[in-house]
């Protein structure tokens, strides 16, 4: 039983890991076909992973409603929004528009989801600004550099900024394309080295936390 519960999953990881790492070095149509199929398989399995997450959300709010805990009315609103959207989506076959005409699902997307999402992220502008005021006060040389770079990029992204500081557009582009990209490149190289090390650890069974806890 220990083989089925503990060792077989590790064996599956080892075989699939080596197989798909090796696939990259085999430029044969069959190898490409295997990659295409495997990508499709991953998408399908990922769909089932969504069920796990959604069920957890369903359960959490259902418990809140049945026990009538504080704020259970909001959980009802969540349920109503979710079930209403699902009903509209299934009715419209998951399409926002049919022959150019907006479906009920498209209506939910355009007049509910887009405004809610847009506004939710838009209000972050205010909070980012207030957070910046607290944290950006140039208390050190590094903080001053950060502040100056942020101000130049902000000014360089809008016509008014370029009007007030004529060079800000060019300097902003230079910061983003040269200085920023060099840092991103360095971080990317570092993160990639870490990802490769982790991948090897997973394939060879050194890292097993993804299997979860449990008795065996």
């Amino acid at each position: 039983m220990i083989f089925l519960r503990r060792q077989l999953p590790l064996l599956i990881t080892l075989i699939t890991g080596l197989l798909f790492a090796g696939q990259y070095y085999v430029p044969h149509p069959a190898s490409e076909q295997m990659l295409t199929s495997a990508t499709k398989w991953l998408q399908i399995i990922g769909g089932f992973a969504l069920i796990l997450g959604v069920t957890s959300l369903f359960h959490q709010h259902a418990v809140k409603i049945t026990r009538q805990e504080a704020g259970w009315g909001y959980s009802l609103v969540l349920y109503a929004g979710m079930l209403g959207t699902i009903a509209a989506g299934l009715w419209a076959d998951g399409k926002e528009a049919v022959d150019g005409a907006m479906t009920a699902f498209g209506w939910v997307y355009n007049f509910m989801m887009v405004p809610l999402q847009g506004t939710m992220f838009a209000i972050l502008a205010f909070f980012i600004a207030s957070a910046a005021y607290r944290s950006f006060r140039a208390r050190s040389r590094e903080a001053a550099v950060l502040l100056v770079a942020a101000v130049i990029v902000m000014m360089g992204r809008v016509p008014l900024g370029e009007y007030l500081i004529p060079l800000s557009g060019d300097v902003s582009s230079w910061i983003l394309n040269v200085l920023n990209s060099s840092v991103r490149r360095a971080i990317l190289i570092g993160v990639s080295l870490g990802a490769i090390a982790l991948s090897f650890k997973i394939i060879f069974g050194v890292e097993r936390s993804y299997l979860g806890g449990g008795k065996e």
Partner: protein
């Protein structure tokens, strides 16, 4: 020209939801929480429908029925194994699904990460410091505005090297190493500042979008929802504010 009914209702709903979220700028309140929960509900519902349509309908059902691709039942079975998490005695079977996904992800990641994120990035960083000019001459272009100029190539090389050195802890950052690491920090700070500024402006762009909608929906052809709903929401906030008794400070 008369406005279609669904557009008018949509304008009222969109305006109402936008204003409900904006009430958070005043303080956390029941109206905001209502819109917040509705947002989560609608988003989850949307993802469920899209996943159902993309995965179940277009990747599983149609290929099996139309093309007889019964092999697709294998990933379905692997996916179903994930659901054994809900049966304590069979929960260990979900490990097969996770093992497959994680193993495949790790296998796919190794060669592609080395190729795209390490070798390609190094190739773009280590560029010739001089350019060919004419049949037998070389030049060093100083144009900062051209990311491909020789001066910028030198700056990028130094930036990448100093930032990598800053994160390299196997040798002590002292003497010349300290100066290089300090330069790396300056590069990092500039990048964080640029990232911050860029994010702020992206949020501002969203804010402008929402305000543009509110201005458009204040038009008489929509029934002026912006004005009426603003009055209604401000009134509700005042009523809610009066009903909420101030709590005495804890001693």
């Amino acid at each position: 020209m008369t406005m279609p009914f669904e557009l008018i209702v949509g304008a009222w709903v969109a305006t109402g939801l936008t204003l409900l979220i904006f009430t958070f700028l005043y303080k956390d309140n029941p109206l905001f929480k209502l819109a917040e929960h509705l947002y989560v509900g609608v988003s989850v519902g949307y993802i469920i429908v899209k996943t159902y349509d993309t995965v179940i309908v277009h990747l599983v059902v149609k290929p099996i029925i139309d093309n007889g691709e019964v092999a697709l039942l294998v990933p379905v079975a692997i996916g179903m194994l994930m659901l054994t998490r809900y049966v304590p005695k069979a929960a260990w079977m979900s490990r097969y699904a996770f093992a497959f996904i994680v193993g495949m992800g790790a296998g796919l990641a190794i060669p592609r990460t080395i190729s795209s994120f390490i070798l390609k990035q190094i190739e773009d960083t280590v560029r010739p410091l001089l350019s060919l000019a004419g049949p037998d001459g070389v030049t060093f272009s100083m144009n900062l505005l051209n990311p491909a100029s020789n001066l910028n190539a030198l700056i990028i090389l130094f930036g990448v090297g100093s930032v990598l050195f800053y994160f390299f802890f196997s040798i002590e950052h002292s003497g010349a190493g300290k100066a290089v690491a300090r330069t790396g920090v300056i590069f990092l700070m500039i990048s964080f500042g640029a990232g911050f500024g860029y994010t702020v402006m992206a949020r501002m762009s969203l804010l402008i979008g929402r305000l543009t909608d509110l201005i458009e929906f204040s038009d008489a052809s929509y029934g002026r929802p912006t004005i009426w709903l603003s009055v209604l929401i401000i009134g509700t906030l005042i009523v809610l504010g009066r009903r909420t008794k101030p709590t005495p400070p804890e001693v």
